[in-house]
Symmetry: D2
């Protein structure tokens, strides 16, 4: 369920374009297609004949930019960013692209991901006198580039990329080129497209390529640095020590259904997750319904595999992206609900299979099960089209503590009770891997599944100590409570 | 396809509540659930201990009201309105509820529908010295009430209601009561619900009852006047010359899928339309997909009946309710598209059945067919889950001229070519009536189907002359071009 | 002291123009020059080739109109209005010009003043079925025009004007003409100017003529109706029962110093008031200072006549027109002051004559005397360049109750003590009349001085009863407490 | 004439407070009193129990802060800034206070003035890898502090202050203290006050002390560093190589009349300038009037000394601080004027002495002379209460090029003709010095008068080359055209 408060939050979407008039408008359009990746802030930097100008602000793209703004951002190249910011840090300073003005040159930087050694780098540089302006970790790259002793900008950027660790898809705009870089594990997606007029686009998802009329050219590979300039696109590797481990949550929840990641269509992958879930966690019921909008694909897959009718049991108010007004707790208990509603005519008296993509804190699940029961559903069988989330992510998803995750704190039986569901079942990790079906030969089907099994594909650097302490704390509690992915 | 410019526009949604604290908040929540019925303006009138206060403005509900506004609107009763205004008349004066301040009393009026003798009434009253402030026809009722010689307000209101003709669902708030009235044909839906604390709600659709935690009490019947006050709800008839002819477009397109109208769930009715369409207009294909969001129900029905897989072939950007920025024609031709996108991974190489709810001008249909073909669809078979729109509506839907309707101007073969579809088929009127399945004994299954067959259930009064001229003009064109609802 | 909360508030300024491109821009400019007459709302109606369009809103002119708005208001004629609204009635409905749309024609109405028989007219018309939309009394005129049996619009307007009583300067715009009308006593100022291109301007003060580059043509005379249309300006009288009694507060406080009223420059009149005040209320002191900005002229006159140096003892923050943030009472007591400050370097150790234009509630006076004393002034002698305000006004100034007026409730000695001044003196009525120096032969030098002596130049109609009750109440208090205008 | 586009612009005002609840509100109030020093942007940093939070934005204080903002900024200490930004650099990044977030601490910096070796410092630091975020020179100090090898923050700050050159009044807020520093020449004013509760205030002008109810404590002296913390105020010197040369334009035009600078009241100093001007540049005339608001003091002095009556010949629209709408050139030529107007009743037929404080480009002077003549003035004798501006300023006033200064390009005779005045006269430098009357023993009466005589009190560092080139260019023109300060 996208944009519910208690759900996961991707940290960003990036979009860059080189070599086309209307660069700002295309960037706006591309970011609009990526708006689901971040709703707290947005920005665009235009390269106007060698001069970089940035406009950024808090809120949705439409809060930040109007038609007049876009008309003023004239240029042949641009980068843009939509941001989700963690609570308390929604400062304008952190909204990207980050602009950097030097006596002799300018840069603008957009980053999707999270670094694992940012704190160490920052402390080292601050000890040498460096000044940071944002509180985000994205700024590190710029400092490292400026401090590199290499003689070309290409090599300075590579130096810097080799120093940082974690998950990152970077776009870096200068007066005469656009760089794009991906971390050695390819945690975050990044794709290249071509415009009809020969210009290039680099962005987080292929849905943004479609939105601007670009054709897919290639996925950026782990460890690659791309440079796009007057002479076209050149691709090189800043490291060969790479291994694809793309974030599985991109397939499960984040990415838009119409996007393809490394050749795999996201909607189709979700349908397969639903189908495999139906095999692993079958149940006798009258109909299948999904939590709109992110779980509809999996629900279709579950229905098709199980032979149960696929139904519209829940409706999401299509204007809910924009309401800041919330009912009080008292009104909520009286049944006031502004975002979701159950279709009584469909669910009343029926045994319902409710498919959701994933469960974080569990608050939403409890609410939706109650909504269906209040609408007269005879039974509600909750089926989650992904494994249980039990470990934090350090590569760009906003789950920083296991303590926030219900599946790290309750058994399957406890959770079922918490949700008020008649049964509960999760997809297994092997089925998730099979449903995605990437065949690059890397472990775990080239996916990062660390939130499910706690096996991180890289050292955790600055986060290791915090992680160890939290795990110790969880272990000390009387009994093993970790969920098993079998049905209860 | 809701909120596309070239589609139909309902003229309004109304919501009223009596006898509860948080009256303004509930009205806000109810209007939020009715936002699909009007996006150009919104307003709320609160009854604050006998004093009426109105706040209204242009734009979506969220543009007009913030949390502070709602806190200031304290009272035990309220009415509200969301409005679609026809081009050129989006004046603040026309946003409802319309407030009326007299020396000794106050009224507030909210209206969904369109009167057919408004012009005549207005001219008569103006000749007597009356002053109108809005340019909308809603104001007439107030003038008529004040001019009535009857001795009680109840009778004055009934006098006024008997004078006006056309489609109307009225809410009228005073210092000590809330009136609700429906026209003698029940063209527009209007339902009553009860709050947990005993208060009453009257509103356009049951989805708004669900949103505020009210339980369905009854549908308002044609010709009824309801009065809600301290002593509860009393229902009387201002006329007995009634015959239900509810607007079939409510079932086809306007109402929310989770609403029930006269006991019929809208989603389920649409699914049946889709299923009957599959029977009447079958086609060999690989999958079925609907135009999001309003055609998904019909597409599910078509898929289920035909045995073809139901797929997500099109995605609607969930933030599109709020973008005011449009690509230029040139960019649009390059493939830039901000609202809809095709899921290439689903449709490429496939024979697609594309289900849409209805066709007005045809511009959107052409665009969507092209979108699917550009995404690689092998064939696109367009199936419309309603009969062809050929005649204007005078009871509250914004189709004022047959010349705007493609089906009044082109044959089925011509339309197919215009849309670039491989085949085209509409639902028949009998199947529409069967799909809805209302059994009140009134003609046409108690539906108004005049936009399909030109047989209006009432005289047209002020519109008759204009209608005759237009029909004459269409008739004079060389050949009979009216569409037949068989497949081509 | 303009724009202090506790001071008087003029109810409006009006501006109309006929026969010039840029009509909206000129109206905006003219209203900007009249902004001191009303800060709560503003509006402009343009005549765009026979079509009237109105834009209006709450706040200062600059809050309501931006450059884009003005560009959209293209036309050859326009009227505009700036409004001060009394507490609680700052509804958008009351912001003028009031637009009226009839089936066959349109009107827009702007009014400065206050009617004394509005309530009676309204009740009569409502009993006949009339509907009022605003709660202001301005709307009456339109109703009366429409109800007139006369055969020409000219005569209908005159009929209506003869029915209403009180103070009014009206502008009425139609598709083909602009009317201007003044009440039979000329309570409010209204002047005509000519543009370089031959167009006409009618507005509240000559300062607005200057602002738009128009030359003064004539003052509108009491009882006149002006019509401006294609064939030029024609002036007629709707009544001959007239007697000039222009509001003396226009000279004392409201009007801008650069305006001329019936040939008398306002600044110069104020200077003469100050000079006569120096003669009537002399005092031994070191310097004279005025309360900025409205009392500076009188202070100059006092200084010049007395031979004392004129000094800048008080500074008004020039951004204070726009601050909505107020210090708390606690901070205010600590000396926090956002609008006015004393110039210590000027007043410390000095005996100061403080000249203010008038005193309403007295709160401001007490605050300013304290400000000077805190800044080290040895003595503060308060001199008021007008007689003591003791009676309400019913012709357009916002003093509705004698109970609000300190001089109706305290003796001179009590007031002096309340203010903390070392002495206190007011100007006498005869000196006020002499200072203005109008020579039309009407009583009181053609001025209305009723707020000083309670002798109203017209019957009070709807207000008589309320007035009698209040006076009775004041009389019943133990002792006669009315101020005498001699020094204490 | 403040806020006219063609006039001088001070680069900022600063305000800091330590040790009081309501720190943000007092800072807001103080900045409101300093708004005349900068209208393009404003910001406040609060110290909320050791955490610094900054809010800043473009526009007037009231555009940036509302009451809710101030309530959220709770803390015991704060600094604030109002900014004038030169064209093209009005970026949010440049609005102060500049916030700096380090891993272990935070700083916020507010700066009034201009550095002369900023470019050199920046280039040096960038070569070492430093990253600048703003394009302003204010950021240098923070970099230098962090690079200092000294062991205490006090010494690090002093190190940094000794490195930078030019004009500066700095406020630096940390979690546990507030620093204030003044350059070795004291180019910009900076004063300390005490609050009733014992807290300290440091700000640009004493008018801000008065506004917040603080009492004057001391002027900060050239070369001083002040530290305010829990233990109170401590003052030390970071250099002893100092010599007071306070910007004479502060006395002439910038500072508010109610402020005292080094014990000299600004209004009184201006009055003395006017009086000496009357002696040096007498003329036969009927009255004296000043350009509102900044020249009124000098005009009073001229009138008093000359024995001519002081009059209100010009009125400034008191709402003009907020209009963004400008008449077109064509309308301006027709006499449309939104900001200033002449009082015809005062000036018609009269010989007017028009006193202005200074002349920069001369455009405003020409406009005002024309305004008076159009209003019927028989003669206009322009008298400037300061010497002719002929050289740029590098210490914080926005005159960067002599080519912008009319007096650097035209003779007195040419200027008189350009302005259309009947005569023209400037004040001499010795009289300016005498009028201010500072007696600290430093040259030029402790004033910087370099804009008049080109003798700068410090080396020009980064600006020397540019200055030399411009002077050479001026010299090369055929004839010596520099103005002499005698009357023509």
């Amino acid at each position: 369920m996208q944009s519910e408060l208690s759900h996961l939050n991707e940290e960003c979407g990036v979009f860059g374009v080189w070599g086309t008039p209307d660069a700002a408008f295309l960037t706006y359009t591309g970011l609009f297609a990526l708006q689901h990746r971040g709703q707290e802030g947005a920005g665009i930097t235009i390269n106007d004949d060698g001069q970089l100008r940035t406009k950024r602000g808090l809120g949705l793209l439409n809060d930040v930019f109007n038609a007049a703004d876009l008309e003023q951002l004239q240029g042949q190249a641009a980068i843009g960013h939509v941001r989700y910011s963690t609570a308390g840090s929604n400062l304008l300073e952190n909204i990207q692209p980050l602009p950097f003005n030097f006596s002799d040159t300018q840069f603008a930087l957009a980053h999707n991901g999270n670094l694992t050694n940012a704190e160490t780098i920052r402390k080292n540089l601050e000890d040498r006198g460096a000044i940071y302006h944002s509180s985000s970790d994205s700024e590190n790259l710029m400092h490292l580039i400026r401090l590199s002793k290499a003689t070309t900008l290409d090599e300075q950027v590579k130096d810097a990329l080799r120093t940082i660790k974690g998950g990152f898809a970077y776009l870096l705009l200068t007066k005469d080129r656009l760089y794009a870089a991906l971390d050695p594990n390819g945690f975050r997606p990044l794709v290249v497209g071509k415009l009809p007029n020969g210009g290039f686009v680099v962005c987080s998802e292929t849905c943004a390529l479609d939105a601007v009329g670009a054709t897919f050219f290639c996925d950026v590979q782990p460890g690659q640095l791309l440079r796009i300039d007057e002479s076209g696109l050149s691709i090189s590797a800043y490291t060969t020590d790479t291994q694809l481990a793309i974030c599985s949550m991109e397939f499960i929840y984040f990415a838009r259904p119409d996007s393809d990641i490394y050749g795999v269509n996201v909607h189709s992958a979700r349908k397969r997750m639903g189908a495999l879930l139906a095999k692993e966690q079958p149940v006798e019921a009258d109909l299948v319904t999904g939590v709109p909008n992110s779980s509809l694909s999996a629900a279709m897959g579950y229905a098709q595999e199980s032979g149960l009718p696929y139904e519209m049991g829940l409706i999401k108010n299509q204007y809910s992206a924009r309401t800041f007004i919330q009912p009080t707790q008292k009104l909520r208990e009286q049944g006031v609900n502004m975002k979701l509603s159950a279709v009584k005519g469909v669910v009343a008296g029926k045994r319902v299979v409710l498919v959701d993509d994933s469960i974080v804190r569990g608050t939403t699940s409890r609410r939706i099960v109650k909504l269906l029961k209040d609408a007269g559903a005879a039974e509600v069988h909750l089926r989650i089209a992904s494994p249980a989330l039990k470990y934090p992510c350090f590569y760009g998803i906003d789950i920083q503590h296991a303590s926030e995750l219900i599946a790290a704190n309750q058994t399957l039986a406890e959770m079922r009770q918490t949700f008020g569901a008649d049964s509960l079942g999760f997809l297994s990790v092997p089925s998730l891997i099979k449903a995605v079906g990437l065949n690059t030969g890397a472990p775990n089907g080239s996916l990062c599944v660390a939130y499910f099994d706690g096996k991180y594909p890289t050292p955790l650097y600055d986060y290791q100590e915090q992680y160890d302490q939290e795990q110790e704390k969880l272990r000390r509690r009387d009994e093993p409570k970790h969920v098993t992915t079998s049905s209860y």
